[in-house]
Symmetry: C2
Subunit: 393 residues, 2 copies
C-alpha cells in the first residue's frame, strides 16, 4: 500500500549510519558508538529492594494511571536534589516528568516550532535533538564553538541576523558530541543575550553531574531571573536509562504548555518507574552512586585519551572533555569518517561519524567516541585498532 504521508516525513529518513551502527551491536565489536552508561554499575541489588517495596506498599497506585505532570514526590526530589545541585531554585510545580529527556526535546519542537522557524544551536549539536526538531520542519543556524563552547560573539551575530529565531538550543556541559563545556562567564552572557532578543534558551543538561574535575558547574538556568531558560534533565546517565525518566524544569506558564503536549503525546510517564526512582532516592543517596560512576568513567576517559595520544597519527586532533561521555576527533579535511567507519567495522571497532551532528551538513572529517560503555581492556584494544586504520589512510 502506498500511503500519502505528511510532508514532514520526507525530512525523517532512516539514516544510513543508523543502519551501519546496527552492526556495532554485535558482541565481537568494540563499540565506541553509543552513549550508553556502563551496565555493570547499575544499582541492581538496590533496585530489587526498591521494586519490592513499591509493589508491596503502593502496588495499586504503581500499576495504575497517574497524573500527566508526574509522581509528585519524584518531582519534589528532582527540584530539591538535582536542580538545587546545579544552582536552580525550583519546586515541584516547576517540574514535569518526561519519558527520558528525548521527549523533552520533542515537546520543545512541538511547542515552539512552525515550519521554517529558526533554531539556533551549537555547531555541531546533538543528533537526537536535531532529529526531534526536524519533525517540525525548522531551519537551523549553527553557531561555531571554541574550547569554551558556543562563541558568544557568534551567538550574538546569529541572534541579530535572526531576531525571529524561536529558541537557542545548547548542551552546556561536556557537550554531545564534542565534550566541550560552555564557560560560566558565557552562561551569564547567554542569558543576557536571550533576554535582549527575547528568545528562550533550551538548556539540555544530561551530563552536568558527571564532572571529573571539580564541582558541578552552575547551570545556565541558575542565572535565569525571568524564566527565559527551559531546562531538560534526565536520570539516564546518572541512574538507569532503561527506566526512561527525564524532566523539564521551567517557569509554570511555559511548563503548562509542556504538560498539555504530554497529555496528547503519551498521557504520562510510567507510574511504576517513577515510584521506583523516588523510593530509590529517598533510601539511597544518588550522589554516592554518581561518585562511583564518575570514578570509573574518569579512569576510562584518561585511558582512552592516553591511548589515543599514543596510537592516533599526529594529524588527528581530539578534545579533552572535563566530564560526560564523549571525545570528538577531527581528521584532516577531505577525509570522510563515514567511509572510515566501514573499514573500522571490518576491524570490529565502531564510532559515530560526525557529519550527522551538523544539521546543515558538511564536516564529514569528524567522529565521536564514547568512553563510558567499554571496559578498560576493550578501550585500549579498540583504540589500537582505530589507530591502525587511521595511520593506514
Amino acid at each position: 500500500m502506498e500511503f500519502r504521508l505528511a510532508k514532514r516525513m520526507s525530512n525523517l529518513k532512516a539514516s544510513e549510519i543508523r543502519e551501519l551502527l546496527k552492526l556495532a551491536e554485535m558482541p565481537e565489536i568494540i563499540s565506541f558508538a553509543g552513549g550508553m552508561p556502563a551496565p555493570e554499575l547499575f544499582p541492581i541489588k538496590e533496585m530489587e529492594l526498591v521494586t519490592k517495596k513499591v509493589l508491596e506498599d503502593q502496588g495499586k497506585l504503581a500499576l495504575q494511571y497517574g497524573p500527566t505532570e508526574g509522581y509528585r514526590p519524584l518531582r519534589k526530589i528532582i527540584a530539591e536534589q538535582r536542580m538545587k545541585k546545579s544552582g536552580v531554585n525550583a519546586d515541584e510545580n516547576n517540574i514535569l516528568v518526561t519519558s527520558g529527556s528525548q521527549q523533552g526535546l520533542d515537546f520543545t519542537g512541538r511547542i515552539f516550532l512552525d515550519k521554517d522557524d529558526i533554531v539556533i544551536c551549537e555547531s555541531p549539536s546533538y543528533l537526537g535533538a536535531i532529529n526531534a526538531f526536524k519533525a517540525y520542519e525548522p531551519k537551523f543556524v549553527e553557531v561555531p564553538m571554541d574550547d569554551n563552547g558556543m562563541i558568544i560573539e557568534e551567538l550574538e551575530k546569529a541572534l541579530s541576523e535572526n531576531p525571529t529565531a524561536k529558541f537557542i538550543y545548547t548542551i552546556p556541559d561536556f557537550q554531545n558530541p564534542t565534550g566541550k563545556t560552555l564557560s560560566v562567564d558565557r552562561r551569564k552572557r547567554m542569558v543576557e543575550l536571550a533576554e535582549k532578543y527575547n528568545i528562550p534558551i533550551i538548556e539540555d543538561n544530561p551530563y552536568g553531574e558527571l564532572i571529573y574535575e571539580g564541582d558541578v558547574l552552575p547551570s545556565i538556568k541558575s542565572f535565569d531571573k525571568n524564566g527565559i531558560v527551559v531546562y531538560l534533565g534526565t536520570f539516564s546517565k546518572t541512574f538507569c536509562p532503561g527506566l526512561r525518566i527525564g524532566w523539564v524544569c521551567a517557569d509554570k506558564e511555559i511548563l503548562s504548555k509542556y504538560i498539555i503536549v504530554k497529555q496528547g503525546a503519551d498521557l504520562q510517564t510510567n507510574s511504576m518507574s517513577q515510584r521506583e526512582a523516588a523510593i530509590f532516592m529517598e533510601n539511597y543517596n544518588l550522589n554516592d552512586h554518581i561518585n562511583k560512576i564518575k570514578e570509573v568513567y574518569k579512569k576510562r576517559r584518561d585511558l582512552m585519551l592516553e591511548t589515543m595520544k599514543q596510537e592516533f597519527p599526529e594529524n588527528c586532533t581530539f578534545t579533552y572533555p572535563k566530564g560526560g561521555l564523549f571525545t570528538w576527533v577531527t581528521l584532516p579535511e577531505g577525509l570522510d569518517a563515514a567511509k572510515i567507519l566501514e573499514i573500522c567495522l571490518k576491524e570490529n571497532v565502531a564510532f559515530v561519524p560526525g557529519g550527522s551532528f551538523f544539521p546543515n551538513g558538511g564536516h564529514s572529517n569528524h567522529f565521536r567516541l564514547n568512553f563510558s560503555n567499554m571496559t578498560e581492556e576493550k578501550i585500549v584494544e579498540g583504540i589500537k585498532r582505530l589507530g591502525k586504520v587511521l595511520r593506514s589512510l
Copy 2:
C-alpha cells in the same frame, strides 16, 4: 516571559473540563469519569515475582537502553498471542512497542497529517485521539453511528466527499465514549471502502478483549489483505496501565515510519517494563487474568445499567455496551452535561460531559459513564445521586 509559540499551540488549550475533573480525584467523590481499570485486580503478587526475576536474570539489560522497536520477545508475544486472538496473522516484525497506545495516536498524527488535512472519525470519537491529532492541525469529518457503529453509507459519503482524507480513525469494539460496537459485516465493508479510496484505517482497539458476551470479535485488521489497516493495541486495560505499554501492528513499510518517529520522540519504551510484561506473559496466561477482569466488569456493567434503569428519568437514554468500560447517556436536547457536572460535583459524583468527544463541537446533551473503576456499592450509590440530579432538572 512571553514566548512566541508554534501556531498549533493555539488549538491545544487546557480544557476546562479537565480542570473540573481534577476535583473528581478527591476521595469523597464517586467518579465515573476516568477510564481506569479496577486496581484491586492488578496482579501485584505476580508482578513481585516477575520483577525479581527480571532484575536477577537480566538486570543489566532491563536498566539499559534498548532498541527503538521494542524488546523482541515481547513483540513476538504480542504478535502471537494478542494479534492472533483478534484474527490477525502477524509476526514480531509487524510490531512496534509504544509508550501506551496514546503514543500510537500521536505518531499517527505526525506521520499522516499536514495542517488542514482531513481525518474521518466516528461521531463522537475518543477525546484523547482528537487531542493527539489536533497537535497536527487537521480538520475532522464526523461520521454518524447507529447501534452497529459507524454507518457505512455515511462513511462512503464522507469518503467520496473527501477523497484526499488522510485516514479513517475508528474504535470498533465497545467504542470510547459510546460503548457501541462495529458489526463484523461493517468491518469487512470498511476495509473494502478504504481500499476503494486508498485511505488507510487506523484501528484503535484497547477494549476488544474485554467482551462480556461471546468471543472476541475479528478485528478490522483481520480482514486486511493489503496492509491498509494500522492497528493500535495496549495492555493498559487488560494488564496494567502504569507500565505504559502499547503497540502498533502494521505492515513493515508503514511500521518503519512509526519506528523513525519513535526514535525522535522518546528513543524507546521503558526497558524494564517491557521485560516485566514479557516475563509475566511467559509465566502466566494473560487470558486467565482477562477472564477474571471480565467477570468483575460484567457484574459492574449489569449493576450500573440496572440501577440507571431504575434511577434515571425516562427522557434519558443510554447504551448497552457488550464489553469495554463505558456507557453513553443522552439527555433531552437543550440540556448541557457540562453544567450538570457542576451540580453533580456538589453531590460528590462525577462523569465526563460528552461535548469534548465531538471534534467539531456541539452535542452537549451527552455524557460518558465508566463502570470498571468503582466498587458495586459505589456504583449503586453514585447512580442514585446522579439520578436524583437528573430527575431534578
